[in-house]
Symmetry: C2
Subunit: 315 residues, 2 copies
């Protein structure tokens, strides 16, 4: 019995990461309909827009789905109340303190998962009463931990200190990396990058093409003096890198970043001025797929990888 | 048949990374005697000292061993000639161009392995005629690639573009991460950090204790404007980080680094002023072990991890 499929009542322990400008109801319902857990990414939404997406998600899938709430975004508290009011049953919180909303959500019968990047926050989340944790490594796209611990090292560290159901994130891409994550202690996987580039993602086609063309070294963790974020290297990235190299302070980096950079890059497809948040796994992507193609490929690849190990194991 | 055990004529596909100030003949021969492949790390040695260590290694093991030559060090060319003259049969080159010495080494009947951190250098090494490659991820200690690609992402990228025997390095620590690396395409593993802290390592006890006390986030890739290097965070690291944050240029970083920093940290055990090169896997270390303890634990852990996968696989 897998603790994550049991917790969420889903067919496969595959979670689609909630991502700004990528994961509206279309992507979330497609993933949930294919047997995984779809997450609406509320970080890029106004409260009204989130409510619309929740309503549409209920209309397009009978299966469980959830909402990801990055706690650093201005609408986080309103989002939590929208989620409670509309009857969403699963919430992933990230980029903030797990104590802030976990009790309130649990009192309302909601399953709570918190995203962490180190053992300190894993223990804090456990103490706050979350039902599961996502351990996200350095290779993940978007906002990311300051310790820069990779998924390969983070998973065994977290598995050692907590018995909570554990979801691996960062660099997980196919059935092989899924099995690798399981061996390192994960009960399930969360995939962002591959779903960000799929058909049902609401990202701009320019962004999806750029992601599919990425190589290793095409992304970099940047803006570490603000909130570290992994993005594709483009003209905007180079401008930030140059400023950082010359010792730019927090204020001047904030000015350089401005407002709406991730919308410009991901949703509007401005490849030069936008912030193109994506993970290192982009280097492994090449073809256009649907969410259900991805789930099918993951399951087939995972089974094949397991059989290969089993075939080389003495009874 | 494992292509790496066959290539080196060793019992287990486990390689002890060649490390400055840690891996003299004592460590290399202990690893080789336990059935892995020990490497003398020539980066911290004068040509005379390397010759001494090679002579002593031949005297203390009948098994195959090799020498690692970081090509960025001043004695690299002399080291290559010492290796040829003394009859060493395996060389790992790193941190430089695989074209420089591969032909010369191969003409002298030496098996050549090159360490890479991206696909460009993997293809370059293949073209140069190497017998195998080490793909080293961002989590590895010491000098490291600029793309910052993690082992989890790097292995499948490299496996896709070459059929050369592939050795995984960076974050590999136990039988579980070994099996994970195999699933991702590796034929063998190279372990640095865990051997750097073991009994036969020539590192100072202060250094070994500091490594065993490390947590996640205790190491950082630093000095990126010079040659990126992963080290423990100590007073020296903080001084570098502060200078980098304020935009220090290459010249002032070179001045700050000075000469002999890694010797001071690793060999002399100066925990404040030394450069303490080590990988993220330090966070997973806690007890004192011998090289043969490590090999035994790896083999038992690998078998157990395989059996666990096999037990959950439908026939």
């Amino acid at each position: 019995m897998n603790p994550i499929t049991k917790l969420f009542n889903i067919d496969f322990p595959i979670i689609q990461g909630g991502m700004v400008w990528c994961s509206g109801y279309k992507l979330a319902s497609a993933v949930s309909n294919a047997g995984g857990l779809g997450l609406i990414g509320s970080g890029s939404m106004t409260p009204q827009l989130l409510e619309e997406h929740i309503t549409k998600c209920f209309a397009t899938t009978q299966k469980p789905f959830g909402v990801n709430v990055p706690l650093l975004y201005p609408h986080a508290e309103e989002h939590i109340h929208t989620i409670i009011r509309t009857g969403v049953k699963i919430v992933f919180t990230s980029a903030g303190n797990p104590n802030t909303f976990t009790s309130l959500l649990k009192e309302n019968g909601i399953t709570v998962v918190h995203v962490i990047a180190n053992s300190k926050f894993a223990l804090k989340a456990e103490k706050a009463g979350v039902d599961a944790i996502v351990a996200e490594g350095f290779e993940a796209g978007g906002h990311n931990g300051r310790e820069e611990t990779t998924t390969l090292c983070l998973l065994p560290i977290i598995r050692k200190i907590t018995q909570l159901p554990l979801i691996a994130a960062g660099g997980i891409f196919d059935g092989k990396s899924w099995l690798a994550a399981e061996i390192l202690g994960a009960d399930a996987i969360q995939i962002g990058t591959r779903f960000a580039a799929c058909k049902e993602s609401s990202a701009h086609d320019n962004f999806k093409h750029a992601v599919r063309n990425a190589m290793e070294g095409s992304t970099q963790l940047s803006l570490k003096k603000l909130t570290p974020v992994r993005m594709l290297k483009n003209a905007f990235y180079e401008e930030v890198a140059k400023a950082e190299s010359m010792g730019a302070n927090i204020e001047s980096l904030k000015l350089l970043l401005g407002k709406g950079r991730s919308k410009k890059g991901i949703f509007e497809g401005n490849l030069t001025e936008g912030e193109m948040e994506i993970g290192q796994a982009a280097a492994l992507l090449s073809r256009e797929e649907s969410a259900s193609d991805i789930i099918e490929d993951l399951i087939a690849g995972h089974e094949a990888a397991k059989r290969k190990v089993a075939a080389s194991t003495k009874p």
